[in-house]
Symmetry: C2
Subunit: 330 residues, 2 copies
Amino acid sequence: MTVYDIAREAGVSVSSVSRAINNKPGVSKENREKIRLLLQKYHYQPNEAARELVTSSSKMVGILVADVRIQHHIEGAYHIAHELANHGYCSLILNTGRTEQEHEDAIQTLGRRNVEAAVLMGSVFESQTIQAAVLHYLPNIPIFMLNGFLDLPNVYGVLSDEKSGVEDCVQLLARKGRRSIAFFVDDPTPSSLRKTQGFQSGMSALGVQAEDAWLYRQVEGSVQGGYEATRRLLAEHPGVNGLICSLDIIACGAIQAIHAAGKRVPEDIAVIGIDNSIYTEICVPHLTSLDNMIFDSGVMIAHKLVDCLEGRDSNQKTLLFTRIHERDTT
Amino acid sequence: MTVYDIAREAGVSVSSVSRAINNKPGVSKENREKIRLLLQKYHYQPNEAARELVTSSSKMVGILVADVRIQHHIEGAYHIAHELANHGYCSLILNTGRTEQEHEDAIQTLGRRNVEAAVLMGSVFESQTIQAAVLHYLPNIPIFMLNGFLDLPNVYGVLSDEKSGVEDCVQLLARKGRRSIAFFVDDPTPSSLRKTQGFQSGMSALGVQAEDAWLYRQVEGSVQGGYEATRRLLAEHPGVNGLICSLDIIACGAIQAIHAAGKRVPEDIAVIGIDNSIYTEICVPHLTSLDNMIFDSGVMIAHKLVDCLEGRDSNQKTLLFTRIHERDTT
DNA sequence: AAAGAAGTTGCAATCGATTGCAATATTTAA
DNA sequence: TTAAATATTGCAATCGATTGCAACTTCTTT
């Protein structure tokens, strides 16, 4: 079914049909009605490719998700997609995989699909390669970054101040009388770098020597990973009485390992996770966690995106404040 | 940058450029090379809308996700998207919301975007309305359903035998000496209906009267929901010694409520969840859970989809067997 | 009743690719 | 050397919409 078929059967020209479809003036009442009935009768759906070709507007937005394991990213992506659907936009969600090459390919794909905006979810997109790719393939559309930023005129970023967030965690532990504090961090991304910096500056603010700020890098982001790292920690530093984990799920594994070693949480070791995810209320005791506002960032990005597509303006860089949700592990 | 620009600068016709881009025969070595260099120089990307219009193949697949909260659906969707990306297809992932109207709209959208196949994730798509919508808007493309099926020639379904799965759960509890068993079920979807049937037939196979098979419907799918329902259960049926929950997360809440009431898991009450999700190893004790193969279904759908797009044939309906992962709550 | 304004209508060009076909160039075979 | 076979090339149509423009109605207004 094309506009031509409809036009023929209605005994009018394609222009009239097109105008009727798009509710534009220039069609008489009777013809409008005649056309409306035919559209309905044949379940006519316009061919978006043809439409896109002539109007050069695709009504699509690209969303790149780097790490599927982070629930908040996923939910954020779906939230954005849903919000956009309400405004007549389709979301092209691409799961980009791990390598920079894959990220670049994904950006290229968005370019050729003529998306009208792009969302990059995850701090891994904060890199030179991506910056270059954006310049090449998406120079003219707004780019929205979750938990990241690139210094380009068309880039909008929503970030949370993870560094001070982790500093706050250290201070909270200090207030609870803990000074032998360890930090578990997962994959080396810009985001975990910021968290690590927060840990280090927080500890040195406490007057703790760098070598006594026990930093465990590349802890696997899973219950198992947290469990194993904690066993190592307890063996290497039996005096530890505070622990901060870059992911809630790692903290869940840590709690289990601490219990398995016959120690109590929080009496012997206080634990703080990061993300304030659903896991915090599944584990027992319920996990104190730093809310890094990932979900809120997603919501905010959805807003900014809609604003932008509808011609309203907004800040290029938004910094959100983090907040510790204190539960039963501190 | 269009093929015309490239053609002009290379001093050849657009046909040659097009053929060169698509690695088709009919272009001399020298011209091929000349064109290749120009494409590279200008970071040329073909306009997919134009391509789609003439070839009427969009290289896009639609994925509808009904319930974002189910981690396995999400991960399945991303898995499928990733697999398809390796075969040159883009995924249009739509988060459809709750109402049938939204589902229908989403299917309409897929139609007008000319997707070459569609994946419907979630049993909620197993309905008359959707069947009609598919007939109207997607009559000619293959449809892949996860945990659901429609009796149409172009529909492929991968389902797990949830009914017998839940029957098995009942039997497992029975073997552990439990006969006072409750079942918590969340939203009324075709899937939870099958689970409910499994519970009922399993219980009657044990010779338990229907009124003694304690069925709690519409338990909210959250830790809180499980907690509240369990408090009610313990008040109404203090003798309960077995519990099956339609979602792991509900079971997590249940365990906490049981502990709060001063009872032990599994000694006093054995608990089984469904989904075999990550939550099973976060809660303590680790949750025994029925693996309903949602993730495997996703992987299998990705396979079927690729097979189908590449012209190979496959079964319309695939039934997967479920399996109980016994952990520490039974 | 005539002139002007306002509303309808359809022709034809356009978007950026692909592709069948005819024309031309090149290679091979006799 | 020439005819036949093969390879290269570009013209022009095509996909299905949108839209500016000119032609044509119909309705006001004086």
